[in-house]
Symmetry: C2
Subunit: 158 residues, 2 copies
């Protein structure tokens, strides 16, 4: 299994504390994804999509923890029931708005990702693929789903 | 950067040809995810979520190709504008229905994943995190988004 960084993500967020914790808490925040130039041909026709799924490596997650207390709840939960970075594979996922592509550079919006984060993959966001059409339950998050819009990070996962 | 398999995904699909190409083409298909037993504590409280984001390794993607002709269109596109497995990092993503958890075993539905696929991560699916609330455009896929429900795979990405 060979997985490597394929670029770098740039954002206004230079430290892991006081960041938005999801794109819905980062409305209008602009960022830039620099794909390795040799891979730029892979972006052909991506500009037709308004949103992209960005997979990246939580390079500042200092550890793995199977039980975490997330930013949105004072109670601990299993790490797979959260989006915390201290999961066994430190892979993050954000659905970002795609504003423009110029060569190997993508201009994105609603970015909730730390500056300098290594990029793993880009996928087009497609509601017919990515939105379940069954009833959705959201476990512990349903206590306060709107909290994600204002919650900010701290150092707990460093 | 250290990324490793954390379990195995089991499904009715034993070969890469003639498979559904997305969960929306795999309605009712049942599967099983076996997380490594030592990580089972990380599943605590995940059963409150009806759907999970499953990240996995396309272990049968035999190559990387920056330009691909996807199953849903006769025209070639950049691989990052598709969900084809022959992307630089062979990481796949499916949003599956979660029916039950017993210890380290997850029973899932709508599975579009090859039997024996290595698991990379599990995340709770949360509309407030994962569904953009802006207008969505879907590029070349908008020609035939419903095609995903009946399209089946072939050997082209082996």
């Amino acid at each position: 299994m060979q997985i490597e960084s394929i670029g770098a993500i740039h954002s206004p967020f230079k430290a892991i504390a006081d960041m938005p914790i999801q794109p819905s808490g980062a409305k209008g925040q602009l960022g830039r994804i620099e794909l390795e130039p040799k891979l730029a041909a892979g972006l052909t026709d991506l500009e037709g999509f308004s949103h992209i799924i960005v997979l990246y490596y939580f390079h500042c997650a200092g550890k793995t923890a199977l039980t975490v207390t997330p930013f949105l709840d004072p109670e601990p939960h299993g790490v797979f029931a959260t989006r915390a970075p201290t999961r066994p594979n430190h892979i993050g996922l954000s659905v970002l708005k795609l504003n423009a592509i110029d060569g190997n550079i993508l201009q994105v919006e609603n970015i909730d990702i730390l500056d300098g984060t290594p990029l793993l993959d880009l996928k087009p966001y497609v509601p017919e693929f990515d939105q379940p059409n069954e009833d959705i339950r959201t476990g512990w998050i349903r206590k306060n789903p709107a909290g994600v819009q204002t919650a900010r990070s701290d150092q707990r996962f460093a």
